[in-house]
């Protein structure tokens, strides 16, 4: 049943007809959309704020994660028990009776301090001393336990020493008319890298410090550190080779 002629006109006319809706119609649609999708179509400022806060938080985390001071601070906490041993020593002098008398009045404490000037000094003085000793110990601990590999001067010295060895080897090989190729140079550099890392480790292994072990583990994981040493060796070798070549010209 094909559409007849008048229906075409009717279709055109009816499809173009418009009836304005009431003024509340859009409000009703908008409120329905708000109910179903709260927050959509409104200000997106909170979105930007959330994103900015996330970025700031990540930046702060990255900053504190990268800080080198954080590692020694942790080391000092682990090493503290060895230094805190004296804290227990004055125990016998500080009796519970004295503590009670301190609580009852300052006169008893004062007399006990006069009668026993040496070891029986009140807790008020002794505890700060021991704490200070502990603090000193804690402060000294990171310096003693810090991995030598973290010292740039030491690394530079080791690199210089290894460079001398490499150059001596190369010169010796060239003197016997053996051509030294890049692979051999690379092998020598890698060997030097291993030596530097090995020599950089602390010699005294009798005392096991967990923080040093942790630092070593981290260094083993940190391949970039090894690569840095190797890169330094390569740069140094290239520099010396170029300067020797320039001199020979």
């Amino acid at each position: 049943m094909a559409p007849v002629e008048f229906e075409k006109e009717l279709k055109k006319r009816l499809r173009s007809r418009e009836v304005p809706p009431s003024s509340e119609a859009w409000q009703r649609i908008a409120s329905r959309l708000d109910d179903e999708y709260p927050g959509q179509g409104r200000s997106s400022g909170w979105w930007i704020g959330l994103a900015a806060a996330s970025v700031l938080m990540l930046a702060a985390l990255a900053f504190f994660w990268e800080r080198p001071e954080s590692l020694p601070a942790m080391e000092s906490v682990v090493s503290a028990p060895a230094e805190e041993a004296p804290v227990e020593d004055p125990g016998p002098e500080v009796t519970s009776v004295e503590l009670i008398s301190e609580a009852e009045g300052a006169i008893n404490v004062a007399t006990s301090e006069k009668e026993e000037p040496g070891p029986s000094v009140g807790t008020e003085k002794r505890v700060p001393e021991t704490l200070q000793q502990g603090k000193q110990g804690l402060a000294a601990a990171p310096v003693q336990d810090a991995s030598p590999l973290a010292d740039p001067d030491l690394i530079s010295g080791l690199v210089a020493g290894q460079m001398d060895t490499i150059l001596a080897t190369v010169v010796a090989l060239e003197q016997v008319n053996e051509p030294v190729n890049d692979a051999q140079i690379e092998a020598l550099l890698r060997e030097a890298q291993q030596t530097i890392i090995r020599e950089g480790e602390p010699e005294d292994r009798s005392a096991v410090d967990p923080m040093i072990l942790l630092a070593q583990a981290e260094e083993e994981l940190d391949q970039t550190f090894r690569e840095q040493i190797l890169q330094k060796l390569r740069t140094e070798y290239s520099r010396i080779r170029n300067s020797v070549a320039d001199r020979n010209k």
């Binding site: 049943m1 002629e5 418009e18 809706p21 649609i29 179903e36």
Partner: protein, 188 residues
């Protein structure tokens, strides 16, 4: 003219994309553009003006809810119209008892009225006074351009029922035009 149409379509495309991302002002712009036409459409199916507006509102909520499903393959207006038609028919199915007279009529020729504007206006009125089933099928077929297979699917009837409803609708329109003494012209 063509350039203007392309520019309008591009503007509409941008509006749709913004509306998909939840921009309320873009949704409002689309609503302002199509709401008057869609309300007229709804009123062709739902006679009560308030119910028709309710249907239109529900239809627009569905439009914006499913806007991401619009594939930009056909016209946006056509896509919105189809949603409105579905919504109106669902409303009628829920609220009213739509009867489709399934008796077949002998298909004799239907005399056609002319294209005179006054006749068309009278026809609109007469279409509105058709029984529900006739009116639905006639409007879907003659105004919305649905095929009988589509009408059958939308209304949940057979294709033959759709065809017979259309025939009866045309016949009744012809009869009413005669009774109201509106001049019409012979068979096409």
């Amino acid at each position: 003219m063509t350039v203007k149409i392309i520019s309008l379509l591009q503007h509409e495309k941008k509006l749709i994309h913004r509306a998909i991302s939840g921009k309320r002002e873009a949704q409002k712009a689309l609503y302002d553009r199509y709401a008057p036409k869609m309300l007229a459409l709804c009123q062709r199916y739902v006679k009560d003006a308030h119910f028709a507006e309710d249907v239109m509102i529900e239809g627009f909520v569905k439009v914006f809810r499913n806007l991401s499903g619009f594939r930009f393959e056909g016209s946006f207006e056509g896509w919105v119209r189809r949603i409105m038609v579905r919504e109106a028919i669902d409303f009628l199915k829920k609220r009213q008892f739509v009867v489709f007279d399934d008796t077949r009529l002998e298909e004799t020729g239907v005399e056609q009225p002319g294209s005179d504007p006054y006749q068309l206006e009278a026809l609109e009125y007469l279409i509105g006074s058709l029984p529900e089933g006739y009116r639905l099928v006639f409007t879907l077929y003659a105004v919305e351009g649905y095929k009988h297979t589509e009408i059958a699917e939308v209304l949940g009837i057979s294709e033959n029922t759709s065809k017979s409803q259309l025939f009866k609708a045309r016949k009744q329109l012809q009869q009413q035009l005669k009774e109201t003494s509106i001049p019409y012209y012979g068979t096409r």
